[in-house]
């Protein structure tokens, strides 16, 4: 068992796992991932069986990739524990360093030069029984531990962030609303496709009402700027275009809405009504001023007689018999609704990201320095002594050059 633990927490094993993960990631680039199986059957008929059997069409969801990640996490847990113990043992490391034999010798008077240099790089000097102990960046000893811990947290919270939220894509016409399974209502007040400076920019103004009755203020959602209310997050996802006609009977006041994807005849008796032909975009000719706009192409049918085709703009109305047909804005937003298990679920992952960067900074830029020195020589100790050793060699070389 001890041997298994020793292998699992070894750096060699971690490197092997990392290399395998990288290799699988690289191989995954050879084939589009996560498509429907018929896609592979049609495009890769010769290798389809192999692709299917090895789950190569979705490497990142395959058992072997998940197993590798699991092993990597296990290795990471063991390493994190080891790093934690190591960071806690800083006091003992200092005590050990204080009695280490000298690795480099010092000429008479050089100890003072060393002390001056260590003071210039802001090292803390302590007098020991045999000489001096110089320390710096002791906080940096937590770097490697924090780095490993934060990667572990990123993986754990990341998996939760990918797996737990319920994601739904829904289209919604301005003025209408979407009711989710849990009773959350998302109402779309308006939808625009251009911002005030005329740039292409998809934006919906929405309101969210939670099942407990709490309601948000109207807020604009745009690409990159979703709206969060409670544990519901709404993204501006896509947009659609299609005929949208509101019909109102003038006699009895009944109303009906029609969302049309293709040509249709809107009539109550099959003889008189409105024939919807489609939506078109008109762009100004080259050299002409003006902006492009969309219009409806329709035709009135009266007692089976077809009138000439006509063009109407969104917002306009046409009366046919007892019915008023109002043409609504043809563009509508497609929203992505993400319902998280609890509010601030994402914050945990984002906190792990911050910890990762802090750990990395401590690891690379706050490396602990531990130097023991006496009249006869000195030795550089600590977890990563190379940099200090080289700096001191440079110092002596500069002194020699000066001399």
């Amino acid at each position: 068992m001890k041997k298994v633990f020793s292998v699992l927490q070894s750096m060699r094993f971690a490197n092997l796992l990392l290399a395998l993960v990288a290799l699988l990631c690289g191989l995954s680039s050879l084939l589009p991932q996560g498509r429907e199986l018929p896609f592979y059957a049609a495009n890769y008929p010769e290798t389809y069986t192999l692709i299917y059997r090895t789950h190569f069409y979705d490497v990142f969801k395959s058992w072997y990739f998940i197993l590798l990640l699991g092993l990597l996490c296990l290795s990471l847990v063991l390493c994190t524990v080891r790093m934690f113990r190591k960071a806690l043992g800083w006091k003992q490391e200092r005590e050990r360093a204080a009695v280490l034999p000298n690795a480099e010798s010092l000429a008479p008077g050089q100890l003072e030069d060393l002390r001056r240099y260590m003071a210039s790089i802001r090292c803390r000097e302590e007098k020991t029984e045999s000489g001096y102990l110089f320390t710096k960046n002791s906080l940096g000893r937590w770097g490697v531990f924090l780095l490993h811990l934060s990667i572990l947290l990123v993986v754990a919270f990341g998996v939760c962030a990918l797996a737990l939220p319920k994601v739904t894509d829904r289209d919604c016409r301005p003025g209408e609303s979407i009711t989710m399974e849990d009773g959350t209502v998302i109402a779309v007040d308006s939808f625009t496709m251009e911002n005030t400076s005329g740039q292409l920019d998809y934006a919906s103004v929405i309101r969210i009402t939670l099942p407990d009755g709490s309601q948000s203020a109207p807020q604009e959602v745009k690409v990159n700027y979703p709206m969060t209310f409670g544990s519901t997050k709404v993204f501006q996802w896509t947009y659609g275009v299609g005929g949208s006609i509101q019909a109102r009977n003038r006699t009895d006041g009944t109303e009906q809405s029609f969302e049309l994807d293709g040509a249709a005849f809107l009539s109550s008796d099959g003889l008189t009504g409105l024939q919807y032909l489609g939506i078109y975009e008109a762009a100004p000719q080259e050299g002409e001023d003006g902006e492009s706009y969309v219009f409806y192409r329709v035709r009135v049918v009266s007692n089976g007689t077809m009138m000439p085709e006509m063009e109407t703009l969104p917002g306009e109305s046409v009366t046919v018999g007892d019915w008023d047909f109002t043409f609504r804005e043809p563009y509508y937003p497609g929203l992505r609704i993400k319902q998280m298990p609890f509010p601030f679920a994402n914050s945990l992952l984002e906190a792990a990201f911050v910890l990762l960067l802090v750990g990395m900074f401590l690891c690379f830029y706050l490396q602990p320095v531990l130097v023991k020195a006496d009249e006869t020589g000195y030795t550089v100790a600590g977890p990563r002594p190379e940099k200090m050793r080289t700096e001191l060699r440079r110092l002596w070389q500069k002194q020699e050059e000066k001399a």
Binding site: M11, R12, A14, N15, L18, A19, V21, A22, C25, G26, S28, S29, Q33, G34, F60, G158, A161, L162, V167, Q199, L200, D201, Y202, K222, V223, N224, Y225, P226, K233, F235, W237, R336, K338, N346, L349, E350, F353, L356, L357, M360, F361, F364, R384, E386, K387, R389, T390, R393, R394, Q397
Partner: protein
């Protein structure tokens, strides 16, 4: 303003040639001239970059051309920092050549300034792309320094000499900087992806290759920490890692369609 771009490209190319001539002939004055020409090229490049940013009213890093241009701009910056540590001509030679080649690559891309598409209009845009350009530059210069190490080793210089130790450490420090910045790129990218695409990670080819690059350098940092391999071995590793981030930068966009295919 295209003239300024081509002027800087020409100056970089000229600096590389002069530097090579100076290195072969061991003429110190010629090498100094090369560095001065290179700095002039950098100045012209900076002017072009700032002008383009002012015209576009954003950080000009949105297209392949702009990113290559920004990436190339970061190399002289990293070189200038590296020179404060190790003043080795050969690093400058390779750095100059890399800058000229990248600018040459940029020149083959579409150069017109386009309006930023809605997906790219984000607070995170500048940090994500800017950190990527700096990160790749740090990896590239680390590779150049490692190459210098290998060449010195072939000339018979001892691995224990101060200069070799400095070269190895500079290479490591540049990798550490690039790695930190690449992590920033991935983290910011994840936060941005959540805001734009509703998921922190989508296994998009660019994300996958950024992860591959990250893993490759993680293995390097592990190996170096443990000192299980010689400095020469580690230097070869840093050199051989160059294609990984170059593929993440250009190859993925060209060869594998995905969410990051913006042009």
């Amino acid at each position: 303003m295209k003239t300024v771009f081509f002027l800087s490209l020409g100056l970089y190319a000229a600096a590389t040639l002069i530097q090579l001539a100076g290195a072969f002939g061991k003429w110190e004055k010629v090498k100094k001239t090369a560095w001065a020409v290179f700095l002039l090229g950098f100045l012209a490049h900076l002017v072009y970059f700032v002008w383009r940013g002012l015209v576009a009213q954003r950080l000009p890093l949105a297209s392949q051309f702009e990113f290559a241009c920004g990436f190339a701009l970061c190399i002289p910056v990293v070189l200038l920092v590296a020179r404060t540590r190790v003043n080795a001509d050969w690093i400058a030679t390779a750095g100059m050549a890399a800058t000229a080649l990248l600018m040459g690559y940029a020149a083959t891309q579409r150069m017109e300034i386009t309006e930023l598409m809605p997906a790219l209009r984000s607070f995170w845009f500048n940090f994500h792309i800017g950190a990527a350009a700096l990160s790749y530059s740090a990896f590239l210069v680390a590779g150049v320094v490692a190459l210098r190490y290998v060449l010195q080793h072939r000339k018979g210089e001892s691995a224990d000499s101060l200069r070799m130790k400095q070269l190895e450490q500079l290479s490591y420090r540049l990798v550490a900087l690039g790695f930190l910045l690449l992590t920033v790129v991935i983290v910011i990218g994840a936060v941005w992806a959540e805001a734009a695409w509703s998921a922190y990670w989508t296994w998009d080819p660019k994300e996958v290759w950024a992860l591959i690059t990250w893993i490759i350098y993680t293995v390097y940092l592990h190996l170096r920490l443990r000192r299980q391999k010689s400095d020469l071995w580690l230097s070869w590793y840093v050199i051989l890692a160059i294609p990984a981030f170059l593929f993440t930068f250009a190859g993925v966009n060209k060869l594998i369609p995905g969410l990051h295919s913006y042009g």
